[in-house]
């Protein structure tokens, strides 16, 4: 039985559809991250699970019980908010123990529990301080301790790290990961930060404009994107996406007269408008004599330290390649690029969905996912 089950969940504000029908099963103990650009409905979905938002249509079940009509407190969820939402007039101890106090737990028992949880997130020296006297990271920890102390069935995180600086964010990420490993509580985490999503998630739910684009393991989403949106959204630098069509001669035509020789991909796709996708790290610089090499001109170079990104123009189409060589390169210089046909993805331009490219490609994708 799944811990959380969403079936046909929709949200409508007056006439605005915000969530268009989500069907997802979340297994017990799983760490699921909902990822999407701002305004895609990911927070709304989380808030519907929490009970802070009405469900317009569909059904949400937690631990097998339909919770549509239940109050937030009856759902067994604990939530960590973006701005911590600590009670400013209460000490750390009171903040953490407030839910227990509301539930009517006797003081001694409550204090023992608060102390135990505070120790587990190393907050015990600060128990008598007010939130205003804590740093951002400590406040975040209080918010997490407050969620943990209730021993909920489900943890909900609503972009909890977006107010922290980059370094703290990485540290908190590790902390959340460890916490999940030791407690094993089903968790749903909303973020727009893909690094956060990729590193935390057992499974990712990618949302766009109120629609679930893809559900899958991080590596699956990265190496086998189900749609043009996912391909473009996941990965930094973004996947190279070249718009064009396959001719009968096995050439992919794009930009202003650009041709790429890909005879193994074009069958069955002739003349259909598609986008050809390939990850920048799978695009190699090759010598001019290499068969099928794409000739391009360097637009500009982004130095990253260990490697550099070459933004190149191939007959009017932008191609990005990750380059680890130290060759002298500059704007306007001609280069030659190549990639393996099995590393390419093709997306239908009208539907935005992935086109199945046959066994060779899926085998290569599978190898990468499992690597």
């Amino acid at each position: 039985m799944s811990a959380i089950s969403l079936s046909g969940v929709k949200k409508r504000y007056q006439k605005n559809n915000v969530v268009h029908g989500v069907d997802v099963e979340i297994e017990a103990g799983e760490f699921v991250v909902i990822l999407g650009p701002s305004g895609c409905g990911k927070s709304t979905l989380l808030r519907m699970i929490a009970g802070l938002e009405d469900i317009t249509e569909g059904e949400i079940a937690i631990g097998g019980t339909v919770v549509n009509k239940l109050e937030p407190r009856e759902r067994g969820c604990a939530m960590v908010f973006q701005n911590y939402a600590l009670y400013p007039h209460m000490s750390v101890r009171q903040n953490i123990g407030y839910a227990l106090k509301v539930a009517g737990m006797p003081r001694a028992e409550r204090d023992a529990k608060v102390l135990k949880v505070a120790k587990s997130v190393s907050l015990d020296p600060y128990l008598d301080r007010k939130p205003g006297e804590l740093s951002g990271g400590q406040r975040q920890r209080v918010a997490m301790a407050r969620a943990m102390v209730r021993e909920p069935k489900v943890f909900l995180f609503d972009e909890p790290f977006s107010n922290l600086d980059a370094k703290l964010r990485v540290a908190m990420r590790a902390e959340v990961r460890n916490l999940h490993r030791s407690l094993g509580v089903t968790s749903v985490f909303v973020t727009h930060d893909q690094t956060e999503a990729m590193t935390l998630a057992d499974r990712l739910i990618i949302m766009n404009a109120g629609v679930v684009e893809q559900v899958g393991k991080p590596s699956e989403v990265y190496h086998n994107p189900a749609s043009l949106f996912v391909a473009d959204f996941i990965g930094s630098p973004a996947m190279n996406l070249v718009r064009g069509f396959f001719g009968e001669d096995g050439y992919f035509r794009h930009g202003q007269g650009g041709m790429i020789h890909l005879p193994s991909l074009g069958q069955g796709l002739v003349s259909r408008e598609v986008s050809l996708g390939v990850r920048p790290e799978l695009v190699q610089r090759v010598s001019a004599e290499t068969k099928g090499a794409i000739t391009a001109v360097v637009d500009y170079i982004e130095e990253l330290g260990a490697s550099r990104l070459i933004y190149a123009n191939a007959d009017g189409s932008r191609l990005i390649a990750v380059d680890t060589s130290n060759d002298a390169l500059g704007t306007g210089m001609p280069i030659h690029l190549s990639f393996a046909a099995v590393d390419a993805h093709v997306f239908d331009h009208d539907t935005g969905r992935r086109v199945d490219l046959g066994d060779a490609n899926s085998a290569a994708t599978r190898a990468r996912i499992n690597a």
């Binding site: 802070l52 407190r73 939530m79 908010f81 939402a85 400013p88 007010k130």
Partner: protein, 305 residues
């Protein structure tokens, strides 16, 4: 705005000192006159230096105006009005800000509109209600025919009456509704982040618990500021207590007693006693302001805002 010219500094200090003197001069005169004997106070030109009769004048004023019980009355009424105002204002602002009901904006504007209707404007209808607080209920019963129905069925004539004249509730209740207070609380409640409300929902606390355990402690500073203003203004109420109490001996307040201290045109012009009485009467609000100020300055400095 920062000005660094010494001439400008001198001018602004001059203006401030002048203003201060203008404000303090009446108090000084009151104090000086209150400390003089009747011979000294009737001298022309007036002497602006205090004399040695303060204590006996205070004693005389206290006895003549029966200030002991009157002080208690004033204190009861002012505290009652202050507490009532805070309770009513915070609860109505709570309803307007945190609950989504159909008539919420209508309610807010109705309350807001009463800002334009101070007691002086509505004093006649307010008096009518105070004379019989159940009159509106009676009117409803009469108009809907319920009282006629009861009379024909049981032979009992329905005549509701709840007289508030000459009573503490009568002096307090009509002053309790406050648009200013509601508005102040509303502004404060609107600064409470939604996430805090949601966090308390997740923690399982109901609306009243949230109100009592989160909103009230957070609004402490506001409450003290409001209480100060309200206490002073209700202490200084003159018209309403004068109107609603005919039994001045029992229900008179100190501000009403000021009138009793003014010398009779045909009697002895002992303004020194009058002034000493005025000193006593303005002392409590002064103390409240002085004490409360320390509190709400502390509230503003403290970090838990």
């Amino acid at each position: 705005m920062i000005e660094r010219s010494p001439i400008f500094d001198a001018i602004s200090y001059g203006v401030m000192i002048l203003g201060l003197m203008l404000v303090l001069l009446p108090f000084w005169i009151t104090f000086v006159a209150g400390s003089q004997s009747i011979q000294e106070v009737t001298q022309v030109p007036i002497n602006l230096w205090p004399s040695s009769h303060l204590l006996e004048n205070l004693q005389a004023a206290w006895d003549r105006a029966d200030l002991g019980p009157k002080m208690l009355n004033s204190f009861l009424v002012a505290s009652g009005v202050t507490i009532g105002k805070i309770v009513l204002a915070s609860l109505s602002a709570f309803a307007i800000v945190f609950f989504n009901f159909r008539a919420r904006m209508v309610c807010f504007w109705l309350i807001f509109m009463t800002l334009m209707l101070p007691l002086e404007v509505r004093i006649v209808p307010t008096y009518a209600i105070a004379a019989n607080a159940l009159q509106p209920v009676q009117a409803i019963l009469d108009v809907t025919g319920i009282s006629w129905l009861l009379q024909t069925l049981s032979g009992v004539q329905v005549s509701l009456e709840w007289n508030l004249l000459n009573s503490y509730p009568g002096m307090i209740l009509p002053l309790v509704a406050t648009a200013t207070g509601t508005f102040l609380y509303r502004q404060f409640f609107m600064t409470i982040p939604d996430e805090l409300v949601e966090a308390s929902k997740m923690d399982g606390s109901g609306p009243l618990r949230f109100f009592w355990e989160v909103l009230i402690p957070l609004s402490r500073t506001n409450m003290l500021a409001l209480a100060t203003i309200m206490f002073v203004s209700s202490w200084n109420q003159y018209l309403w207590p004068l109107l609603i109490t005919t039994d001045r001996a029992t229900y008179g307040t100190v501000v009403m007693q000021l009138k009793a201290l003014i010398p009779d045109p045909t009697g002895l012009p002992d303004w020194n006693v009058t002034m000493a009485g005025a000193l006593i009467i303005m002392l409590p609000p002064l103390l409240v302001v002085a004490l409360m100020q320390r509190w709400f300055v502390r509230g503003l400095i403290s970090k838990d805002k």
